[in-house]
Point group: C2
Chain length 205, copies 2
């Protein structure tokens, strides 16, 4: 399978959410027209996106809801549990580790790292905060592939470098810093205050 | 001034953060080469971005740090305080209202709305949770222009409609739903679990 574009992946996650809700209602079939109406997408867009990932229906009848669900789960890597390492036990890290949407989708923050003696050894929602010095060892041992960076921007690159050396392949970076990663790794940056700044910039114009 | 592209705004917020740190150190001038090295951007990109918003330096000398800071603050609407309404006092809303980066940039969550009798009337970090029925009145009275939606996806559109009718002009939407807004309004969608799903999708390939 070829690599899907980011925008397609983003739509697939939206489709999946809605299609899960239809599955719960026990509907066996759904058309792209109905999906489009409910989710504010063009039916042609939905058909194109879904055709990338497999064959889930019959022309003129619609998609088989259960089959489509399974296909979306598989494509998005949601047919399994992912262990996630969280680096940074500050306010932002605390907020993120408590975020209910992660666990619901099979992402388990299973270890937290920090460099503050006041935080190391504490437990947070059942997850121990470990010394950042143990990061390479623990990540290798547990074969963790996904990490979330929630440290101040001055240490973001250093943390990313250690994560990558330890075997992490995909990083969600909340530090407001453009972290550099080698090719073949996946990096997503989210800066919540930048998002608000783009709103205030708009209102200022 | 013409409307800046999203990607430019996003870079300006990164520049601003770094330039603030230079200002603190008391450096009067900085070159685009130095900025580029420190932030992993091409100097030509930085010069182009900054030329959009004003004249802050002299060829061959660099940018005047203090002037540049003021220019960035003004462009991004960060030379003032913004009142923000938060809708949804669930786990996600709680995390967001505690997010330290908002207040630091002049965004003050000054009111929270929810429809749960168990939450209405409670106080969160000094901010009262009001009945969602009071939303139109309170938002109009306080002239709030920015809102954050952190409700389940099934009520996201309804909440957005009420916010817009009440005078809100810019919305940060954390509900995993493609909210429709009329032209002339600004909407930013952030779906944290979608971001993680794009990582797991990458690892699955």
């Amino acid at each position: 399978m070829t690599r899907l574009p980011e925008t397609t992946i983003s739509r697939l996650t939206i489709y999946r959410r809605y299609i899960k809700s239809i599955l719960k209602k026990g509907k066996p079939l759904v058309t792209s027209e109905k999906l489009g109406r409910k989710m504010h997408f063009k039916p042609s867009q939905i058909r194109r996106d879904l055709s990338y990932i497999g064959q889930f229906g019959r022309r003129g009848k619609g998609y088989y809801v259960r089959k489509l669900c399974r296909g979306l789960d598989k494509t998005l890597g949601l047919d399994r549990e992912w262990q996630v390492a969280l680096v940074g036990a500050g306010n932002l890290g605390r907020s993120l580790s408590a975020y209910p949407g992660f666990r619901r989708h099979g992402f388990e923050v299973s270890v937290i790292f920090d460099n503050s003696p006041a935080k190391i050894g504490k437990t947070w929602l059942g997850v121990e905060v470990l010394d950042i010095k143990q990061m390479p060892k623990v990540i290798k041992e547990r074969k963790i592939k996904i990490a979330i960076i929630a440290v101040p921007y001055s240490s973001a690159q250093q943390v990313a470098d250690i994560l990558i050396r330890s075997g992490v392949k995909a990083i969600l970076n909340f530090a407001p810093y453009k972290v550099a990663v080698p090719e073949g790794l996946k990096l997503k940056n989210i800066d919540l205050s930048t998002e608000l700044q783009s709103l205030s910039c708009f209102l200022t114009k």
